[in-house]
C-alpha cells in the first residue's frame, strides 16, 4: 500500500476538522474524496501534506509522515495541487514548471520532462515566456498539473481540478489525468465536486461528511447505489 491513513484527525487552531478517518491508496490507483462543502476534503489533503496540525497516523511507503515539514513530505514524492492551484502568478510559465522540479538534481531529465509537459499541453508551450498569472483558468489548471508532474511524484493530490473550468475543458482534463495515470503509474487522490466524472475516473471513492468517512466503496458501486447517490450526492 502506497498511502495508509489511520484515525486521522486534523485541527485548525482549536477547531477539529477531521474526526478520525481511515483510508488507503495503492500504488497507481485513482481514488476520489467526495462530499459537500465543509465535509473535510481539502482538509484531508492538507493534513497529508503537513500543512495543518494532525493527530493519528499517516504512512507513505511504510514511512510515517507525522512531524515532517511540508517540504520534506513533498520531497518523498507527493505532489499537491492545492485549492486555488498554487500558481506562481508573477513568474513565467517555464519558471513554474522548473519550480515543480526544483528538488530534483537531474538537469537533462528535467529539460526532457518539461518538453513532455509541453507535448501534453501545447497551449502552455505557446505561452511559456508569459507570466503565469495572465493565463486563462484552463491553462492555469494545465500548468498546475504539469508543475506537479515535474516532481515525478508517486502520489498526486488534486484539489478540485475542475473548479472554474468550462464543462468541455473539464472532460478534456479528466481524460488527460487518466492518460497520465496510465503512462506514468502515478497514484492520484482527487477531491472533486463533479461527481459523475470523478466516479468514472477513480476506481475507489470515499464519501466524507463533517469530518468523517460515511461511505467507502468502489466507484462503480457508489454510482449504482441509488440510496447513497440520493442521500449524499444529490442526484
Amino acid at each position: 500500500m502506497l498511502l495508509a491513513v489511520r484515525d486521522l484527525r486534523a485541527f485548525y487552531g482549536e477547531t477539529q476538522a477531521l474526526h478520525g478517518i481511515d483510508f488507503g491508496l495503492d500504488a497507481g490507483a485513482i481514488t476520489v474524496l467526495l462530499g459537500a462543502n465543509g465535509a473535510g476534503k481539502t482538509t484531508t489533503l492538507r493534513a497529508l501534506c503537513g500543512m495543518i496540525r494532525i493527530a493519528g497516523e499517516v504512512e507513505f511507503e511504510g514511512r510515517s509522515l507525522r512531524g515532517l515539514a511540508t517540504e520534506d513530505i513533498v520531497r518523498l514524492g507527493i505532489a499537491h495541487v492545492p485549492e486555488g492551484r498554487g500558481t506562481f502568478t508573477d513568474l513565467m510559465v517555464d519558471e513554474n514548471l522548473r519550480l515543480g522540479a526544483i528538488t530534483r538534481r537531474d538537469g537533462p531529465d528535467i529539460a526532457s520532462d518539461i518538453d513532455r509537459v509541453y507535448d501534453m499541453f501545447p497551449q502552455l508551450y505557446e505561452r511559456r515566456l508569459q507570466q503565469a498569472g495572465t493565463l486563462s483558468g484552463g491553462e492555469q489548471q494545465m500548468l498546475a498539473v504539469g508543475r506537479a508532474l515535474m516532481l515525478r511524484p508517486k502520489l498526486l493530490l488534486l484539489d478540485e481540478p475542475s473548479f472554474g473550468l468550462a464543462p468541455m475543458l473539464v472532460e478534456e482534463l479528466f481524460e488527460t489525468l487518466r492518460r497520465i495515470n496510465q503512462e506514468t503509474g502515478v497514484a492520484i487522490l482527487l477531491v472533486e465536486q463533479n461527481v459523475t466524472l470523478a466516479l468514472d475516473l477513480a476506481q475507489h471513492a470515499y464519501l466524507l461528511e463533517t469530518g468523517r468517512i460515511v461511505v467507502a466503496a468502489p466507484s462503480r458501486k457508489i454510482r449504482d447505489d441509488e440510496t447513497v447517490r440520493r442521500s449524499y450526492l444529490g442526484y
Binding site: 520531497r75 492545492p82 508573477d90 513568474l91 526544483i102
Partner: protein, 292 residues
C-alpha cells in the same frame, strides 16, 4: 553644462550606494514584510570589520571579501537566531526586534571601535578620472562596482536554481513549500545576501563620509527613499529608485539655492512622502491586495 553633467555623475555614484541599500531593504521587506531599520548598522558593522582587517595589514580586496563574507554569515545568523522564532509574531514584534538589532550593533561598534571618525581607504584612489574634472576615480569605481554587483545579482535571481527558488519563496511561500522549497532557509539566504550587499555599500561610501558607528544613518534614509520610490515589491524598481534619489539629491542640492548642503536630507523625506501620497505602491511596484 559641465556642472550639470558633473552633478549627475556624482549623483549616480552615491545613487549606486542608495540602490544597494534600497535593494537590501526590499529583499528583507519581501521576506518578512517590514523595513529593516538595522540595515545601515549591519553595513556599518561590516565596514568596521573590513577596517579592522586593513589595520592588521590585510590587502584591501581580501579585507573587502572577508567583510562581505562575514556580513553574509552574520545576516544568516541574525535571521536564524532572532527572526525565525518571531516568524508568527505580529509585525510590531519585528519592529521591536529591528530596533533592538539597531541599538545592539550601533553600541557594539562604538564599544569595540569607539566613536571617533576613521578614514577608510578607497581602492580606486581619488584623483580626477582621466585627468578630467568630471568625475573622480573613486566615484567612477563606485559606479562600476555597484553596477557589477547589481548585474551579478540580476543574473543570480534570473538564471540560477537557487535564485528561482528564492523568488518563489518570497512571492508565494505556501506554494513554494508545496514544490519542496525550504522557505525558511531561502529567507535566511536572503538575509545573508542583503547583509553582504549592505556591506559592499558601506565599504564604498566609507571613503567619502568617514567611518563611525552612525555612518549609514542618513544613507539608509536615502535607501528607504529609493525603495519607496521604486516600489517595495520590485527589486529592480528599488535599484532604479536608488539611482534616481542620488541624482535628484545632487541636482536639487546644487541648483535649488535654498536647499544647499544643509537641507539635502530633507529631499529623501519629501520623496518618500510625495511618492506615498501619489502612488503608494511606488513607480514600479504592484499594489498589494489582501483578502479580508
Amino acid at each position: 553644462m559641465e556642472l550639470l553633467l558633473h552633478q549627475i555623475l556624482a549623483g549616480l555614484a552615491t545613487g549606486g550606494i542608495y540602490a544597494c541599500m534600497a535593494l537590501a531593504v526590499v529583499m528583507i521587506y519581501q521576506a518578512i514584510g517590514n523595513f529593516n531599520f538595522a540595515q545601515g548598522e549591519m553595513a556599518t558593522f561590516s565596514t568596521f570589520i573590513a577596517w579592522q582587517l586593513l589595520q592588521w595589514g590585510v590587502p584591501f580586496w581580501l579585507a573587502f571579501l572577508g567583510a562581505a563574507v562575514a556580513a553574509f554569515l552574520g545576516g544568516i545568523a541574525i535571521e536564524r537566531v532572532l527572526f525565525k522564532p518571531l516568524h508568527r509574531a505580529p509585525p510590531l514584534s519585528h519592529l521591536v526586534a529591528f530596533i533592538a538589532l539597531f541599538a545592539i550593533l550601533n553600541s557594539l561598534a562604538g564599544f569595540i571601535w569607539d566613536f571617533n571618525l576613521k578614514t577608510f581607504p578607497s581602492p580606486f584612489g581619488s584623483r580626477p578620472l582621466l585627468g578630467s574634472g568630471l568625475i573622480s576615480t573613486h566615484d567612477a569605481g563606485m559606479i562600476g562596482l555597484t553596477v557589477l554587483l547589481l548585474a551579478l545579482l540580476y543574473a543570480f535571481f534570473r538564471y540560477t536554481r537557487v535564485g528561482l527558488a528564492m523568488r518563489a519563496a518570497a512571492a508565494h511561500p505556501v506554494s513554494a513549500r508545496l514544490v519542496g522549497i525550504r522557505v525558511g532557509w531561502m529567507m535566511a539566504l536572503g538575509w545573508g545576501m542583503a547583509a553582504a550587499i549592505g556591506a559592499v555599500a558601506g565599504m564604498m561610501i566609507a571613503p567619502v563620509v568617514f567611518l563611525e558607528p552612525n555612518m549609514m544613518l542618513g544613507i539608509l534614509l536615502y535607501g528607504f527613499a529609493g525603495a519607496v520610490v521604486g516600489g517595495l515589491t520590485s527589486p529592480g524598481g528599488a535599484v532604479a529608485g536608488g539611482f534616481a534619489v542620488g541624482v535628484i539629491e545632487n541636482l536639487a542640492g546644487t541648483f535649488i539655492p535654498f536647499i544647499g548642503r544643509e537641507l539635502k536630507l530633507t529631499i529623501a523625506l519629501v520623496l518618500i512622502v510625495g511618492v506615498l501620497m501619489v502612488r503608494p505602491s511606488g513607480l514600479f511596484g504592484r499594489p498589494v491586495v489582501s483578502r479580508v
